[in-house]
């Protein structure tokens, strides 16, 4: 469904991504993990068609991404970005309904559009505050409304940049379980995640990015190797097993050791606590 071949991208002489290749099949959920600044969000911007790679090709549904017009793209793929700020008094339902816009380009809205929007809101657990002003919602509630908006777009490919951001553990799990169900229903789902274990639990495959390159790409158990994670994150990790049989990794660090190294001036005061 989505294929990247040898993507490279640089801004102002600084290489952000180098020689990235991978495939995402329909029905699959692929997570991109990596440290801050590894290029995860940049890769998502390339895959969304928002910026063009300096080298390499992206194909969506067998067609070069660059050959799509913005509206054609919007009917095939939806994107959830991280920062969003709405300066007008839209209510949450209206924000979710914005996902229907690409479908309304050539026809008037009909009850079906509203059913789709409402269903999307209920899928992300956002229906109960749908009539509230978006600006007055908490960060987690806004995230769920935004995810509903992306679902209401009814794409075949979902690109999600940290969909679990601002969410409590229950909603993190629910959102990722939803993504997995959508993948099982035939959508392609690509998410950027920071939580290694959530990525390990819910993804079919994981792509580990490090300094703009693909460090590892494969099934969770292959990618989440302690030695590899230590090389990338600069921290020792241990691996154990989740009850489901999937890998479970933890940074092996003592709180005080980390505090005293990274916050030297404060450490003296904290030790006595």
């Amino acid at each position: 469904m989505l294929e990247a071949r040898s993507l490279s991208y640089a801004v102002g002489g600084k290489t952000l991504l180098e020689n990235i290749s991978f495939r995402l099949e329909a029905g699959q959920m692929l997570s991109i993990i990596g440290p801050n600044g590894a290029g995860k969000s940049t890769l998502l911007r390339l895959l969304s068609g928002e910026v063009q790679p300096d080298a390499g090709q992206i194909e969506l549904l067998g067609r070069p991404l660059s050959s799509y017009r913005p509206l054609e793209l919007a009917l095939e793929r939806a994107v959830l970005t991280q920062r969003r700020e709405i300066n007008f008094p839209f209510d949450a339902y209206e924000v979710a309904f914005l996902g229907r816009l690409p479908h309304l380009e050539r026809r008037a809205e009909n009850p079906q559009d509203h059913r789709v929007t409402e269903h999307a809101l209920s899928q992300t657990g956002a229906l109960q505050f749908a009539t509230r002003r978006y600006q007055t919602l908490s960060g987690g509630e806004q995230s769920r409304v935004d995810l509903a908006r992306v679902l209401a777009q009814e794409p075949r490919l979902l690109l999600l940049d940290e969909p679990t951001n601002h969410l409590d553990p229950k909603h993190q799990v629910e959102v990722l379980a939803l993504c997995r169900r959508l993948a099982r229903a035939g959508w392609g789902v690509l998410t950027v995640l920071h939580d290694l274990n959530l990525a390990g639990l819910f993804s079919d495959r994981i792509l580990l990015l490090h300094q703009g390159r693909v460090e590892a790409l494969g099934q969770p158990a292959e990618v989440l190797q302690p030695a590899r994670l230590q090389a990338v994150y600069g921290l020792p990790f241990i691996q154990t097993q989740h009850p489901s049989g999937r890998p479970w990794v933890m940074p092996l660090a003592e709180a005080d050791a980390v505090v005293s190294r990274s916050e030297e001036p404060l450490a003296a005061g904290r030790v006595s606590l």
Binding site: R45, E50, P70, T81, I86, F90, D91, E118
Partner: protein, 342 residues
């Protein structure tokens, strides 16, 4: 699945539009009736039908051109205000931000002060000078903000501020060599007014006004997408650069036409979209129509006040809109401040 319960949410938009649609003709009748020569508003339909009385002549040759001009200018300013607020994603944006008003004022100043014997030509050539000045200023803003085929919205804003300042300075320079009479006509032009309304003038502004209305109304969907941000608008299928080009060009056309016909009428472009958001909501598919209706009505009412309150003298319309608009704007700011603190 049950029919959606939120489907009715658009009801508030529709009922507001309906109410405005009913109120506007009433405002037109009242504006056309009141004045130095009083015509009972409820008699106007009959007078128009019978075409006989003196009142008919007053209505057709004096009142209607003027009311129509007020409606048209108010609608153009309010519509471009709504579009500019959407483009800059800021509810406090004003249609003058892209330099068109300042450029028009400079065009008018150049014409009034530097063209000798402007007195005779003024009726026809002054609006043209203002219109061209407005478009040239916007063009300058556009080219300052574009690089490599892309336009940064923030740069557009800053370039607009720079051009506004530059035009203001140039007008100041011109004023130093103006005669008292020139200064007076420039001042009155700046304050705005509909007293110069004629059928000929209306016909002259009709083509650009209609083009701007038609084009700006079609931007409702991209404006809705832009509410989420520029990247998000692209993700929702908006061709960003094309959209920005259309929005700026059409708004410049609309404001240029309005300012050329009536000088500087302030605050309507800012206040009308706001009022509609307060009454109904921010969805641009309704907001654009609502701003047109509200802008037209507010403008006609402001003109009614301008020509009746100090009768037989007449206040510049710009003075009335600013006198009423500025306190409203301050109230809005205070309200926002409270909202942010809560």
């Amino acid at each position: 699945m049950q029919p959606s319960s939120f489907y009715k949410a658009s009801g508030r938009y529709r009922s507001t539009l309906l109410a405005l649609g009913v109120l506007l003709p009433l405002v037109v009748l009242i504006s056309a009736g009141l004045g130095a020569y009083y015509i009972p508003p409820q008699e106007i339909p009959r007078i128009l039908w019978e075409r006989s009385e003196q009142a008919y002549a007053v209505l057709v040759s004096v009142r209607f051109p003027r009311v129509l001009l007020a409606l048209l200018v108010g609608a153009l300013l309010a519509l471009s205000g709504a579009v500019m607020q959407g483009l800059f994603r800021n509810p406090l944006a004003d249609p003058g931000l892209i330099g068109v008003s300042a450029g028009a004022a400079l065009g008018a100043a150049i014409f009034i002060i530097l063209v000798p014997g402007a007195g005779i030509l003024e009726v026809y050539a002054l609006p043209l000078a203002a219109f061209v000045g407005g478009l040239l200023a916007t063009l300058a803003v556009w080219f300052m903000a574009s690089s490599g085929g892309r336009v940064q919205t923030l740069t557009l804003l800053l370039a607009g501020i720079a051009i506004n300042a530059l035009a203001g300075a140039l007008i100041g320079l011109l004023i130093t060599r103006a005669t008292d009479e020139q200064l007076r006509s420039l001042t009155f032009w700046t304050l705005g007014g509909y007293s110069g309304a004629t059928w000929g003038g209306l016909a002259a502004m009709a083509p650009t006004a209609l083009l701007a209305f038609w084009g700006l109304m079609r931007l409702a969907r991209p404006l809705n997408a832009l509410v989420l941000g520029e990247s998000e608008a692209f993700h929702l299928g908006v061709h960003l650069e094309r959209f920005k080009r259309q929005a700026v060009a059409l708004a410049a056309l609309a404001v240029g036409t309005a300012v050329a016909a009536a000088g500087g009428v302030g605050f309507i472009g800012l206040v009308a979209p706001h009022l509609f958001r307060l009454m109904a909501g921010p969805d641009h598919r309704y907001l654009l129509v609502g701003s047109v209706l509200l802008g037209a009505g507010l403008s006609a009412l402001a003109d009614l006040i301008a020509r009746t309150v100090a009768s037989p003298a007449e206040l510049p319309v710009g003075v009335v809109t600013s006198l009423l608009g500025a306190p409203f704007f301050i109230w809005l700011l205070l309200r926002f401040k409270q909202g942010a603190a809560r």
